[in-house]
Structure formats: structure tokens, C-alpha cells
């Protein structure tokens, strides 16, 4: 129990940000917080954010351990596209839906393995290693779809995004399950320790007997798998595989989410839960911007301002300042 409280305490900045972002949403769209049940599924603004945020949540879940090893995975957006294309092409070619889904996940695994190989065995700098797949992979996805949007009608595949489980949209359930599983995997085993050790000091870790290559490889494989799952959701959502645009620039969202979640790009400590919160913060901000009714030319500037505010709020330089401000406010209150 105390562990849970400890985690929540550690996640205070992220929770505060999320609350703030949700507040803006309430302001922009009154009734945002309403929840209603219809045909056994919950509807409402909060559910929308969870639902729309599911792919980036998944990407962030995969990205967090990668970043903790002082790496980065630029190819996740492209893996989404490839996995989606594989699944769509699969069902359209008459493959049974479970097989198509398995094939898509396996594709993600293979992509991750490739990245892991380049980073762990060939020792390429992660940003270049994954850049290779980022560039070539889009082409591979397009090769599968021939540049079109491969639509499909297989109901089970569509249900990956449209289905409902326990009153929640399936993507939300999948993302939360994946986050939970990953959290369990890293914290109930020693993987988390190894990831953080390798990310902080690979030389010491190797000398202490940690199989650094395996750890490095594994995080990329996992990231690939999560990306494939995200790709399935994105594909099922529009009932078609859009190799040209699926996952485009989402790698940046995922990295941002992880950083907002408090993981340093210089490796070391990471938290799956806070990364998920980071993804939700991003999605909430995005939703607010989309719904605000402002001209779309402003979107980027708004996004920049919001992220800048987040950065300032998270900066260690800002903490004492904030504390002083709070103290002064309290003093004033006391005096009044």
C-alpha cells in the first residue's frame, strides 16, 4: 500500500499537469467531464482522451525503457505503419484474424530485433540505428499497401479499436494492460534494475555481470512490440492501413511523453506509470487545442507554449522558485 502512495507521490508533477490539462478541456468544452453509459460502454471526454491517447501510451510504454538505457527509438511510428499494413494485407489475403494480428505483432518484434541488433551488437548510436528503419520502414509499409489505404472489413480486426471490454474501449484496455504488464515485467523481475544500471553506467554493469547486450536488445524488441500493438489500434481505428501516414511523427510524441514522465534522456531511472501519464497529458493538451475552436494555424504555437510551460514547471531550477512563490502566497493569505 505504502508503495502505491510512494509512486503517486513521485508522480505528483505529472498528475498536476494532467489535472491542469483536463481543466483546460473543461473550460473549452463544457460537459467534458460527463460520463455516461450506453450499450455497456462508457462515453465522455475522459474516455476520449484515454482512447485517442492509447497509441502514444503504448509507444511511451515501449520507449521508456529504451530511453532509460540512454537510447532512443525513432522507428516506432514506422513500425506502427508496417504492423498495420501487415495486418490489413493479411486479412485481405484471407488470413484468419488471429493470425493476421499475430503476424503484425511478429513484424513489430522483428523490427525491434533489428534495432536491437544494430544497437547492442553493431554498436551503432541508437539515434542513427533507428533512423535507418525510420527511413526505410515507411517504404516497406508502402510496399505492402502500394501506397493506398488498404481498407478491410474483418470485424474482429476492427474490434481492436472499436470493441469494448469492461465498459472501456478496447484500445484503453490494451494500453493499460500493456502498461501493467510492462510495469510488472520490469519491477517484479530484475529487468528494471538492469535497464537502469546499463543506462547509467554500461561499463560498471558489465563488470558486475549484467548481460548488457541482452538488456539493450530486449528494450528495443519490447519497444517494437508495443509499437506494433499501437499500429494495430491505429489501423483498426480507421478500418484501413494507411502506410503513408500511420504513426507519422508519433515517435516525437512518445519521446515527449516519456520525458514529461520524468525519465532523463541521459538514461537511468524510468517509470512506466509516469510515462503513461505523460502520454495522457499530451493527448489532453492536443484535445484541448483541437476543440478550442481557434484557427489551426495556431496549433503549433500553442503546442510549443504548452510544452515550454511543462519544461519550466519540471525544471529543477524552477522548484525553489515555485516553493518561494507558494510560501509568499501562503504568507499573504495568512496576513489577510
Amino acid at each position: 500500500m505504502s508503495a502505491v502512495i510512494q509512486r503517486l507521490k513521485a508522480a505528483r508533477p505529472q498528475l498536476a499537469l494532467l489535472a491542469l490539462a483536463l481543466l483546460v478541456n473543461v473550460f473549452v468544452a463544457p460537459g467534458f467531464l460527463d460520463l455516461r453509459m450506453q450499450d455497456g460502454r462508457l462515453f465522455g471526454g475522459l474516455i476520449d482522451i484515454l482512447n485517442r491517447g492509447a497509441p502514444v501510451m503504448l509507444l511511451a510504454v515501449g520507449m521508456a525503457p529504451v530511453i532509460a538505457t540512454r537510447g532512443i527509438d525513432l522507428s516506432v511510428g514506422v513500425i506502427m505503419a508496417i504492423a498495420g499494413a501487415v495486418a490489413a494485407a493479411g486479412v485481405n489475403a484471407g488470413l484468419a484474424w488471429p493470425l493476421a494480428i499475430l503476424a503484425a505483432l511478429a513484424t513489430g518484434l522483428v523490427c525491434g530485433l533489428w534495432n536491437g541488433l544494430l544497437v547492442a551488437v553493431f554498436r551503432l548510436q541508437p539515434i542513427v540505428a533507428t533512423l535507418i528503419l525510420m527511413v526505410a520502414g515507411r517504404g516497406v509499409a508502402q510496399l505492402i499497401t502500394e501506397g493506398r489505404i488498404l481498407t478491410f472489413t474483418e470485424p474482429h480486426l476492427i474490434a481492436v479499436a472499436g470493441g469494448t471490454l469492461a465498459a472501456l474501449p478496447l484500445p484503453v484496455v490494451l494500453a493499460l494492460l500493456a502498461a501493467g504488464l510492462t510495469g510488472l515485467l520490469v519491477r517484479a523481475t530484475a529487468l528494471g534494475l538492469f535497464v537502469e544500471a546499463v543506462g547509467t553506467n554500461p561499463r560498471s554493469s558489465r563488470l558486475a555481470g549484467v548481460h548488457t547486450g541482452l538488456v539493450l536488445g530486449a528494450v528495443y524488441v519490447w519497444s517494437g512490440l508495443m509499437a506494433a500493438l499501437a499500429g494495430l489500434i491505429a489501423t483498426a481505428d480507421i478500418k484501413g492501413a494507411d502506410a503513408n501516414n500511420a504513426g507519422l511523427w508519433l515517435e516525437l510524441d512518445a519521446i515527449l511523453a516519456v520525458v514529461i514522465g520524468g525519465t532523463s534522456l541521459y538514461g537511468g531511472r524510468f517509470s512506466i506509470g509516469r510515462s503513461v501519464l505523460g502520454a495522457l497529458v499530451l493527448q489532453a493538451m492536443r484535445t484541448a487545442i483541437l476543440r478550442a475552436g481557434l484557427p489551426p494555424e495556431l496549433n503549433l504555437v500553442l503546442m510549443a507554449l504548452v510544452v515550454a510551460a511543462v519544461l519550466t514547471q519540471q525544471s529543477p531550477a524552477f522548484q525553489p522558485l515555485a516553493a518561494r512563490l507558494m510560501a509568499r502566497l501562503k504568507n499573504k493569505e495568512a496576513r489577510v
Partner: protein, 351 residues
């Protein structure tokens, strides 16, 4: 004798050059026209802006940072120039000075944020990228042609090379930038500070380096180069457009890394980045000369060639590390107990 020139510093550069020459030879064997001065001149002109970006990026990366905003700053510069010259009728020279100053200030802001907020450069510059691109779109969503006599003269200025080739002014600016960047990085005190900062920011500070000022200057320089690249691009196209340079930051980073500069900072140089830029240009030129690749095969080919290049470069480095000259006496670094700033060798690296 060679030992003086082939050491752990120059080896990656050498490997890069070797691979470039090999690729060029292979291309030329297939398409003899590619040997002509015309294609070479085009290679310089068409990649001038990328080269200038790469100079700035090299400095930032050597300092241990990264700048994702350069493409957006370049785009913003082109629109701003178009607005100033075309809309406000400002003389180009003044407009150039203005955007350069603006670029420098923008970069200083980035540097200040990186230093004072202790935020990772990756995220700060990503935010800066949103901001610059957003501002560019606010200035104009349309592309604005620039009609200005002085502009036309500048844009058209070129040295004729034999064989129909031209060494244009923008190509010249790029070459000059590389030269200046090289001198700055390898010949000045500032350059030494940049290397120190990238080697270990904390140690550099303990050795008396003002890391804050250096960080700010480094980013200011990079954005200044991005603004210069914007000027060059606007000369190149005689217009301004907000979406110019989308994704170019990744090309610049790739060029820098291919050139042997470590993303972990502290090791590298602009000469390698120059080759890196040329290699990327060459890959695209070859694909165009081939002309049979579909859109998707184009991407696959770019990725594969990039990989092939990096693989060969690694191979050269690994092989020469293993069978190269024996360690310099008893003080040769022992491979696994010393931090080895040998290029490309750093397994995990901070972006």
C-alpha cells in the same frame, strides 16, 4: 610515417572519405555523366543549405547537445525574408542582417533554456521547432515569391565550370561556412570549450569553463547557421515558404553522425560532416539517375544505402582497431578499462 596522420581522431574521417570515394566511383561506373563537373557543381549547390545546417549541427553535437529546430528556423527565415523584402520592401542586405540577428537570438534563447532550466536539448529544441514552424505559418501559409533585382543577381551569381557546371554563390557560401566552422571549432578557444563541454560538462565546469555561456553561444551559433541556411535557401528558390525544411534536421544529424561525430559529444569535426552531406546528396542523385525506383523503393533504398554506408564505415574502424598499428608502447589504452572516445564505438548514447 602515416602514423602521424592516421590516429584515433582522423580514422573515422578517413573511413568516411574512403567510403564516399568508393560510392562515387560505383555511381560513376554506372552513369559516367555523374563524373562531370555539372553534377558535382549541382551536388554542392543543391546541398548548400544542408551543408550550412550541418556546420551548426556539428558544433552543437560536439558540445554534447542536439538541435531539432534547425529546419523550422530555416523555414521561418525564408518566410520572414520574403515578408520583409517583398512585403515591406526592405533592402535584402538589411533583411539578411535582421534574420541573422533574429536567428542568433532565438538560438541564445534555446541555449539559455537548456542551461538554466536544465532541460534536455532534445526537448527544448523540439519545442523551439514547434514554435518556429508555428510562427512561420502565422506569418504566411502561402509561399511568397521574392521579386527583387539584387536577389536575382545574388541567386544567379556563379562561377562557370567546364562541362556546363557552375559553382554558384550559395555553394560558395556553404564552402566558406565549412571553412569558418572548421576554424571556429578546431582553431579557437571557443572551439576548445565546445569540445570540453561535450567531453564532460561537469568536468569542464570544474576546469573553469563557463558552461552556461558556452551552451548559449553554441546554440546561438547553430541557429545562426540555420538562419544563414534560410537565406541560402531563399536565394536558391527566390521565395519564402513556411514548410520549407520539414524533416531536414534529421538529414543534418545523419550527415553529422555519418561524418564521425559522436552524438555523445566531445568528438568530431566539420570535415566529416561535409562528406556526410555529400554522401546523402549522392544517394539521392544516384536514385534520380536510376529513375526506376517507385516511391517506396526510394525510401527503402535510402535507408539501405545509409545502413550500408554506416556498416562499411564501422567495419573499417573495427578492422583497423584490431589489426592496425600496434599500441603506442606500454601506455596504449587498454580496450575495455578506459573510456574510449573512438568514434561510433559508444554503445548507448544520449541523443
Amino acid at each position: 610515417m602515416m602514423g602521424r596522420f592516421v590516429n584515433t581522431r582522423t580514422l573515422p574521417l578517413l573511413a568516411t572519405v574512403v567510403v564516399f570515394v568508393l560510392i562515387y566511383a560505383a555511381c560513376a561506373a554506372q552513369y559516367p555523366t555523374m563524373l562531370g563537373l555539372r553534377v558535382m557543381g549541382n551536388l554542392l549547390t543543391d546541398n548548400a543549405f544542408l551543408g550550412i545546417l550541418a556546420v551548426g549541427m556539428t558544433v552543437v553535437v560536439v558540445a554534447g547537445g542536439i538541435d531539432l529546430s534547425v529546419g523550422a528556423v530555416m523555414g521561418l527565415t525564408t518566410v520572414a525574408l520574403a515578408r520583409l523584402i517583398e512585403g515591406a520592401g526592405m533592402p535584402p542586405a538589411l533583411a539578411f542582417a535582421l534574420v541573422l540577428a533574429g536567428g542568433g537570438l532565438f538560438g541564445a534563447g534555446i541555449g539559455a533554456a537548456v542551461h538554466y532550466l536544465k532541460a534536455p536539448a532534445f526537448i527544448v529544441t523540439l519545442t523551439a521547432m514547434f514554435l518556429a514552424r508555428g510562427c512561420a505559418l502565422l506569418i504566411s501559409t502561402d509561399s511568397i515569391p521574392i521579386h527583387n533585382a539584387a536577389y536575382d543577381t545574388l541567386a544567379g551569381a556563379a562561377l562557370a565550370l567546364p562541362g556546363g557546371g557552375r559553382l554558384t554563390l550559395v555553394a560558395g557560401i556553404m564552402l566558406a561556412t565549412f571553412l569558418a566552422g572548421g576554424v571556429l571549432l578546431h582553431g579557437t578557444r571557443f572551439g576548445a570549450r565546445v569540445f570540453a563541454l561535450g567531453g564532460n560538462a561537469h568536468f569542464a565546469q570544474l576546469m573553469g569553463i563557463n558552461t552556461g555561456r558556452t551552451t548559449i553561444l553554441v546554440h546561438a551559433f547553430c541557429s545562426l547557421m540555420a538562419a544563414l541556411a534560410g537565406i541560402v535557401f531563399s536565394l536558391y528558390t527566390r521565395s519564402g515558404y513556411a514548410l520549407t525544411g520539414t524533416g531536414v534536421e534529421l538529414d543534418a544529424i545523419a550527415a553529422v553522425v555519418i561524418g564521425g561525430t559522436l552524438l555523445t559529444g566531445g568528438v568530431g569535426g566539420v570535415a566529416g560532416s561535409f562528406i556526410g552531406v555529400l554522401i546523402q546528396g549522392l544517394i539521392l542523385t544516384w536514385i534520380t539517375f536510376d529513375g526506376t525506383l517507385s516511391s517506396w523503393w526510394t525510401k527503402i533504398a535510402i535507408g539501405t544505402l545509409l545502413f550500408a554506408f554506416i556498416a562499411v564505415q564501422r567495419l573499417i574502424l573495427v578492422v583497423s582497431a584490431r589489426y592496425g598499428r600496434p599500441g603506442a608502447g606500454p601506455t596504449a589504452p587498454s580496450p575495455s578499462t578506459r573510456p574510449r572516445p573512438s568514434p561510433g564505438a559508444a554503445a548507448p548514447s544520449a541523443p
